[in-house]
């Protein structure tokens, strides 16, 4: 679904990604872990071209993307992204947030969009909040709306950039529950998170990124019980 080959990304003199290869299969759930500054969020942002890679290539759904020639807007529409800070549109109601892109980008008619929006809100358990503004929601509710908003574009893959890091501890569960449900429905997902319990339960594969390279890639059982790399061992000790 996503193939990243030899991805290099620098910000000025700082090389954040130093030749990353990552192949995400359809319906696979990949969890990226690593200490802050390791480059995991940057990698995620490269996958929907919020950051442009300096070297290497990204293939999405069998199509190699050329950022200079291809219509990135179209590609982004197929790759959903959920942000740490939700980034809901504060001037629009919850339902308007969800249907904004289908109406504006896909030119979906209002009634169909409304139905889609309400269905998605029901899926994330927020039907009753359709007409309120985001400022009235808790963090967990905001993030669930953000997930519904992303799903409204029927993306082929969903990227999650630390979706629970900005939440109070008691609100983390409801967001992870929605993500787990998505994974069970067969959504292809790449998740940057510090929630090791979620990684253990939901991930097909856990990938450890350290200083801009992948140092460990294994299924959860092997990742936690039999890590190959010293840095992974240290990381696991740190988070458990």
């Amino acid at each position: 679904m996503i193939i990243g080959e030899n991805i290099h990304k620098s910000f000025g003199d700082l090389e954040v990604l130093k030749g990353v290869d990552l192949h995400v299969k359809p319906q696979e759930v990949v969890v990226l872990v690593g200490v802050s500054g390791s480059g995991k969020s940057t990698l995620l942002r490269c996958f929907n071209f919020l950051e442009m890679i300096n070297e290497g290539s990204i293939t999405i759904d069998g199509k190699k993307v050329d950022p200079k020639k291809d219509n990135l807007t179209k590609i982004r529409a197929e790759v959903g992204m959920v942000f740490q800070h939700f980034n809901l549109f504060p001037h629009k109601t919850v339902l308007e947030n969800v249907i904004e892109a289908p109406v504006t980008v896909k030119k979906m008619n209002k009634d169909a969009a409304r139905k889609l929006g309400l269905d998605l809100l029901e899926k994330v358990g927020l039907s009753d909040k359709a007409d309120v503004y985001p400022s009235k929601l808790s963090g967990g509710q905001k993030q669930r709306v953000a997930i519904a908003r992303s799903l409204a574009m029927e993306p082929k893959v969903m990227l999650f950039d630390e979706p629970t890091s900005a939440l109070d501890p008691e609100l983390v569960g409801e967001v992870l529950q929605v993500m787990k449900q998505l994974a069970e429905e067969g959504m292809t997902m790449v998740v940057v998170t510090h929630e090791m319990k979620f990684a253990k339960e939901v991930a097909d594969r856990i990938i450890m990124i350290d200083q801009g390279t992948i140092i460990e890639s294994a299924d959860p059982k092997n990742f936690f019980e039999n890590p190959q790399h010293e840095r992974t061992r240290q990381f696991i000790q740190l988070v458990e």
């Binding site: 807007t73 790759v79 001037h91 892109a101 504006t104 503004y133 400022s135 953000a146």
Partner: protein, 222 residues
């Protein structure tokens, strides 16, 4: 003290028909200055964020010149530079000068509020597949406009008071009337107290309306 109040009152009662007419002129000057300034400001703000070096350069030159010179000089410049060449009333020369002057400040207000919108909003919009134009129109501008209302309100109040400078080219707004009244009646102190009160009342009305509008926006969207 009582004597002063009673003479001020006496000047007020004697002059209010003229002052009310002149106040209308002041409000007209302000309205043109604000509306024209808003259009000019929007145009230059868009130039500044356009990403084009040439457009940015033009906007920067305009803003630097206008902000770097006194309004009264700009009024005189426009009056002698344009009214002399094209036939234009003093009123319009003054109103346009106010608009051109305001445009530079309003451009900075708009630019600031556009750039002040959380970059995450743009990213979220782009990540949903909206293009740059859709992102600007539907996500960034509506939020920027909301942010710009308090500073725009301030700028409107400044314009209302700045319109007094147009007296220099003989537009019959309230300050010029006060000036004439002061000279004719030999009661300069009372005359200027009266005109100060007019401005004060107008500014208070403006402030109240703006506050009301800001509150209404807040109630709607939170």
């Amino acid at each position: 003290m009582f004597e002063l109040i009673s003479t001020v009152f006496e000047v007020f009662m004697r002059t209010y028909p003229g002052f009310l007419r002149a106040a209308v002129v002041t409000l007209q000057l302000t309205a043109v200055g604000v509306i024209l300034g808003t259009f000019i400001g929007l145009a230059f703000a868009l130039m500044k964020i356009s990403g084009s070096k040439i457009l940015q350069g033009i906007a920067n030159v305009y803003i630097t010149i206008i902000r770097g010179t006194p309004l009264i000089v700009q009024i005189m410049f426009l009056y002698f530079g344009i009214v002399e060449i094209y036939t234009m009333s003093n009123f319009w020369a003054g109103a346009i000068a106010l608009g051109v002057h305001n445009g530079a400040y309003i451009a900075e207000i708009f630019r600031g509020s556009i750039q002040g919108v959380d970059p995450g909003q743009r990213e979220a919009s782009m990540s949903l597949g909206m293009n740059r134009k859709q992102t600007m129109q539907r996500i960034v501008f509506p939020q920027a406009l909301r942010r710009s209302i308090p500073p725009l309100g301030n700028q409107f109040i400044i314009t209302l008071k700045d319109s007094s400078l147009v007296y220099i080219i003989g537009v019959a707004e309230i300050f010029s009337l006060a000036n004439r009244e002061a000279a004719q009646s030999f009661q300069p102190f009372e005359s200027f107290i009266v005109v100060a009160l007019y401005y004060l009342v107008l500014v208070m009305i403006f402030t109240y309306l703006l506050r009301w509008y800001e509150n209404r926006l807040d109630v709607d969207k939170t």
